[in-house]
Amino acid sequence: MEKYISLAHGDGGELSHRLIKDVFIESFGDGDSALFDAASVDIPVGRIAVTTDSFVIKPIFFPGGSIGKLAVAGTINDLAVSGAKPVYLTCGFVIEEGFPILDLKKIVHDMANEAKKTGVSIIAGDTKVVERGSADGVYINTTGIGIYELNKGCSLEFEEGDAILVSGTIGDHGVAVLGARGELGITVPINSDCASLNRMLAEVLEHTNGVRIMRDPTRGGLATTLVEIAEDFQVTMKINELDLPVREEVHGVCDLLGFDPLYLANEGKAIIIVAQQEKEKVLDILREYPEGKDAVVIGSIVGKEKGHLLLETPLGSKRLLTRLSGTMFPRIC
């Protein structure tokens, strides 16, 4: 087989055919659906969850994962936080001419692995090749379909006093990827948190009551995600700076580069807002999982009109947090 991707791998002809056979079907394992324009699959219940994301991360391999693992986990998490059980994934590749086929195989392997671990099937795919200089290695879109198996979900109704939880330390992914880019000249000793959270979140939903909403604070970080919830549902929340779980290494990098961990991307974390009286139960469940072992309460809902996010400083003063606004971050997801 060829060593590098050429334009002919994307022209729909013989080389495309072989690439699909040797790289994708080999790993994803469903020879049949490659025969058809569309995959045909069973859906047991009447409501489904659908999400899509493109992944353009640089570098494509980083401590703790790769664009492949990320592309699967990222979409699984979007389904999981919406209360659905992820069942099917599609993937669309845009590959730059000259990309090493060995790297592509590694990526596809990571995808297959993560899919298997989490029990989802990759049922359809597509490959396009663009000229050298018209992409940066490889971009992957994944679209996920989930089903609502439980007959309870997130209530999306909030009350004053509801607890805001985060399932672990923040900023790990952002900092690990910035370090891996090399450009900043920093060696960071931590891994991306990239992980699929579906089983953990499903257990939370199944075994507790009063979950208001779940979210994965990816691009834009914890602050941006909370601001979105605050605005969308017109609740005011307060989080405590001292309670935020941030690794020392992340603190160090942020200080060196002037970043704020509140705005750094996470790829294996969930925010859960839950009724005050259920928070310990949720924490207990989260902490049973390796991905949730650092779960903590970081704040609470303090009001129901304004749609603001407040940060309480160690001195006890409060300040308003807004969305990430135009910091020029490199591509980290």
Binding site: H251, D255, L257, G258
Partner: protein
């Protein structure tokens, strides 16, 4: 631009040093602090070590805070 965190010198070269900032490492210039030693803490600005932290003075500052705090606490009690 960093303001606070002191960086610990973990390797000294001729014109630069590897420093550790809470576990992450980076290389900084040491032309302005040629006397810096392994183990010293430095203040870094835009990639250059500008000053070596004098730990004795640092501890003195902390003592100053504590004194003020203790004074207040005993007052309150």
């Amino acid at each position: 631009m960093c303001v606070g965190v002191p960086a610990k010198v973990v390797k000294k070269m001729e014109y630069s040093a590897v420093v550790d900032v809470m576990g992450s490492q980076t290389t900084v210039g040491i032309i302005f602090v040629p006397e810096v030693e392994f183990g010293d803490y430095v203040i870094v600005h835009a990639g250059q070590a500008m000053s070596i932290v004098d730990e004795t003075y640092a501890k003195q500052s902390v003592e100053e805070w504590r004194k003020l705090v203790n004074a207040r606490n005993s007052e309150t009690v």
